[in-house]
């Protein structure tokens, strides 16, 4: 039942104090009808949303190997710190001398992120990964414009890239050139050489890529792009695999975003708020959105800024949590997290590969991709069927049908905070499902069977969109 269906005329929850000043009647034109907001008691409202929460599954509920999303444990101490009144009650336009704590958070976090990534400066404004990509590509655009290099109209994106990459580049009015992957899952060097040229503005790359593989040719790739006069953008969605081990800045990347809500443990909140800080090398620092925090590189000139990408300073409350995480882990803990994330992924891979085909049978980084094409051909059971069957075992399924270059793909990212027992359990579940696929494939098309609803009619949702409650009912 929706909150509107529980609403009863005349019922109320929160009471305000009696008005202690004279009532003032606005002379401006009023709305014709009052907004149909809920009329419900406090207890019933609390019960309603508690009930809704019970119809959801978070990292705290169980295994959540959603590839590319780094669903690691979200430490509660970070929540306590960010909720402190001396953060929560600070107005963003308070005078500078009254917000020294907030600016210290921004300064420290910017500097730490530089140290972790090998970049020279960071903006903390972007609110999410895609927003970071938009910001980073704007830096590349501004760089070429500042040199009157106006013919650079193309951004190169591998065919394995996140959909956000081409979309973000297109928002910045660039044309997209796709470059295929080679047999090892990396960028095809020969193909890359063919597409770079005087019209290349830059390359967007995830490394480890969306197949969970570290591209051995990374230095060659960035060199090819640089030689053509382009810049290299690092999509930091997969930074969790490598932090403390290798740095994008050393791989030849000029700018990048990272996801505080993935790599730095802040909760995903059902789809945000996240934070997608963007770092860059000295050569691009002046173009960063203002104000920039932390130590600034020599020659920094805010007059060249691309402007703001978000009101005020970004998702500050998220940034506080990210800083708390980095402080807790420290230099050794950051590296440890990455290494254990990679170990967990490889361990899970070792347990499932007898039952399922790997898209690429190599040591993986923090995630790996299965291809269920053969299973589908032989049994009719699809990646979707297997994913849905996992729901019956209280597990969130992996990312499905991504990357696009792998048929019937399931992408698993266990993260470093999962125990060996959980990974063994997950492998057992996948094994059971495999056996079921072989023995009784039809039953899997019906999964899940234990959830509060079965598979939904997505076609109907799209063809006859019902996007809000109909009060006339």
């Amino acid at each position: 039942m929706l909150i509107f269906e529980k609403s009863v005329k005349g019922r109320a929850s929160i009471q305000l104090d009696k008005l202690d000043v004279p009532h003032y009647e606005l002379k401006a034109q009023k709305r014709n009808a009052q907004a149909r907001l809920p009329e419900i008691s406090e207890q019933d409202a609390v019960r309603h949303y508690t009930e809704l929460s019970r119809k959801a599954h978070g990292v705290d509920n169980g295994f959540y190997p959603l590839g590319s999303c780094t669903m690691k444990y979200n430490p509660r101490v970070n929540e306590v710190i960010a909720a402190d009144k001396a953060f929560a009650n600070i107005h963003p336009l308070q005078e500078e001398e009254t917000v020294k704590g907030c600016t210290q958070v921004m300064d420290e976090l910017s500097d730490y992120l530089c140290a972790i990534t090998g970049m020279d400066a960071f903006t903390l404004q972007p609110a999410a990964g895609a927003h970071g990509e938009f910001t980073g590509i704007m830096l590349i655009k501004a760089y070429h414009m500042s040199r009157n290099d106006t013919l650079r109209t193309k951004i190169i994106v591998p065919d394995s890239a996140h959909g956000t990459n081409p979309a973000s580049a297109h928002m910045c009015d660039f044309d997209i050139v796709s470059v295929p992957s080679n047999a090892q899952g990396g960028v095809d060097i020969e193909e890359l050489k063919k597409v770079v040229g005087p019209d290349t503005a830059g390359l967007m790359l995830t490394n480890p890529n969306t197949l969970g593989l570290f591209d051995k040719n990374i230095l060659k790739i960035t060199e090819i792009v640089h030689k053509a006069g382009g810049l290299c953008y690092y999509d930091g969605a997969n930074l969790n695999a490598i932090m403390g081990v290798v740095r994008p800045g050393d791989m030849g990347f000029d700018c990048m975003h990272l996801n505080i809500h993935k790599t730095f443990s802040t909760p995903h909140g059902g789809g945000g708020p996240g934070a997608g800080p963007v770092g860059c090398k000295k050569s691009l620092a002046s173009f960063l959105p203002t104000p920039v925090f932390g130590k600034l590189p020599q020659g920094y000139d805010p007059k060249k800024s691309i402007g703001k990408v978000k009101t005020f300073y970004g998702n500050f409350s998220v940034l506080v949590k990210g800083l708390a995480y980095i402080k807790t882990l420290g230099k050794e803990g950051i590296k440890d997290a990455a290494q254990k994330a990679v170990l967990n992924a490889n361990y899970l891979l070792s347990l499932v590969k007898k039952d399922y085909d790997l898209a690429y049978d190599r040591i993986c980084m923090h995630e790996f991709v299965l291809s269920l094409q053969k299973l589908k051909d032989e049994t009719g059971v699809s990646a979707m069927d297997v994913a849905k069957a996992m729901l019956d075992y209280g597990m969130h399924p992996p990312t499905m049908y991504f990357p696009l270059i792998v048929h019937e793909a399931l992408m698993l990212e266990p993260t470093e905070t999962e125990s060996r027992e959980t990974l063994i359990k997950a492998a057992q579940v996948l094994n059971t499902i495999k056996q079921q696929a072989v023995a009784d494939s039809a039953s899997l098309h019906d999964s899940p069977k234990t959830t509060i609803i079965g598979r939904v009619d997505e076609v109907r949702a799209a063809r006859q969109p019902v996007l809000k409650y109909d009060f006339s009912k």
Binding site: Y24, A28, V99, V245, I363, R420
Partner: protein, 436 residues
């Protein structure tokens, strides 16, 4: 070793053996040797207790005011206690985008309720599941409107923070942006008429505007439509419960900063970008949308829908790259509106208006202070005085009051919400009476 990884020594041995590696370092054999980091230039890790202490030292440098009479895009409203308890529930907090509807009905339903409530506030036909903030909402609106045309007009006193973000989005899309300066605090109609042409994709205006004044948005929408331009209305979600709705004014897109709906000030974020629009623009709307449907047994169900618009399907042909948004902030708004409710929101709006007008009247009675603009305002107003000097700021500060935002030597913008009581407001007036 670390705080959040569970591996024992035995685990490590067993797992490394299973993967056929002798050490953790060996797992990185694909990475060129020369890239290996010796040691990060970071501090050693700390215990959770030590981290909490470290942050107490940081927060001690912030000044927390008892009363905040400053708005300009961030508003200090009362937040009912159940809000934080409910949004803090693990299932909401630690989930991601509800890709799997069978185990995400709670989140999907809350977004469906959010979409409904935002449409109730703005009067518009459809709402998405949120964007990052009001600035990016305007940025996305510009992309929605620039289908064949490439010029946008920002009319009058739109919050400079919002305008700054809009400019960046225009720069990205090589869109021309024209700003029409306000006249007497509101949109200069003649200047707007002179600037708008058939190449104008949209006109963007805010009401209540940056100075707090209520604009005649109906007239602005009409002027826009006469030239074939869309009209983007930036509204305030609290004021929207009282004022003529964006829909009633003829808006094509209505956006807002959703922070007043239960989100703490939190130094500017995380806030909530509300984006609602006319049904006709639905295919150009960015971001996640939840729709109602049925499951295979005919049971009512909610699911992410109209995904053919989005980047993971359309890639470079998508109009926006947004995927993660401000879901937990949207949930905050839903819970806030449910708790405060229909009558409560009327009371909140009434208290904001009445208290703001009380302070404005009391201040204008002080010699040397005048209310700068004649127009009707909601809960923000612009004061013109030489008296808002260092002494006044110091006295306010001492009383635990954050005064209005100074925008130049003489003008400041003040905001009063339901949280301020009469005694405090009288105190502000006394301070101004006393300063030279």
């Amino acid at each position: 070793m670390s705080k959040y990884t569970p591996h024992t020594k035995e685990d490590l041995e067993v797992m490394l053996k299973a993967v056929g590696a002798v050490s953790l370092d060996e797992l990185y054999k694909d990475a060129p040797k020369e890239l290996m980091v010796e040691e990060l230039k970071l501090n050693e890790g700390m215990s959770q207790m030590a981290v909490e202490k470290a942050f107490q030292k940081i927060t001690a440098q912030n000044k927390v005011y008892d009363t905040i009479l400053r708005g300009c895009g961030a508003y200090d409203h009362y937040i009912p206690a159940p809000v934080s308890a409910l949004i803090g529930r693990s299932e909401f907090l630690t989930a991601y985008t509800p890709y799997q509807p069978e185990i995400s009905q709670g989140i999907l339903q809350s977004i469906f309720e959010y979409q409904t409530l935002m449409c109730e506030l703005s009067g518009m036909d459809v709402s998405n599941a949120s964007v990052y903030d009001v600035g990016t909402a305007v940025g996305e609106s510009i992309i929605m409107c620039c289908e064949r045309k490439n010029k946008v007009i920002v009319a009058g006193a739109v919050n400079p923070q919002t305008v700054a973000v809009a400019k960046t989005y225009c720069k990205a899309g090589n869109t021309q942006i024209v700003e029409i300066q306000p006249k007497n605090g509101i949109v200069d109609i003649e200047a707007l008429k002179a600037a708008i042409d058939t190449d104008t994709a949209c006109v963007i205006a805010q009401s209540p505007n940056f100075f707090g004044l209520i604009e005649d948005m109906g007239v602005l929408a009409q002027i826009s439509h006469e030239k074939g331009a869309k009209f983007v209305y930036i509204f305030n979600p609290i004021a929207a419960t009282v004022l003529k709705t964006p829909k009633e004014c003829g808006a094509d897109i209505a956006v807002a900063e959703g922070q007043p709906l239960g989100m703490p000030l939190s130094y500017g974020g995380a806030y909530l970008g509300i984006l609602t629009c006319d049904e006709k623009m639905i295919r150009r709307m960015p971001g996640r949308v939840v729709g109602q449907t049925v499951d295979k047994n005919g049971k009512t169900a909610y699911v992410l829908t109209l995904q053919a618009r989005e980047q993971h399907i359309r890639r470079e042909k998508a109009l926006s790259s947004i995927c993660s948004n401000q879901a937990l902030c949207a949930l905050t708004a839903v819970i806030y509106l449910s708790l405060v409710g229909k009558e409560g929101m009327r009371q909140v709006a009434d208290a904001c208006v009445s208290k703001a007008h009380y302070l404005a009247q009391q201040l204008s009675a002080v010699k040397g202070i005048k209310i700068k603009y004649q127009g009707e305002f909601f809960n923000e107003f612009t004061v013109e005085t030489d008296k808002y000097n260092k002494d006044a700021t110091k006295a306010l500060d001492k009383a635990g009051i954050l005064g209005g935002l100074k925008i130049n030597d003489t003008d400041s913008i003040w905001c009063v919400t339901e949280k301020a009581d009469k005694a405090t407001l009288d105190g502000v007036v006394s301070i101004f009476k006393e300063v030279k």
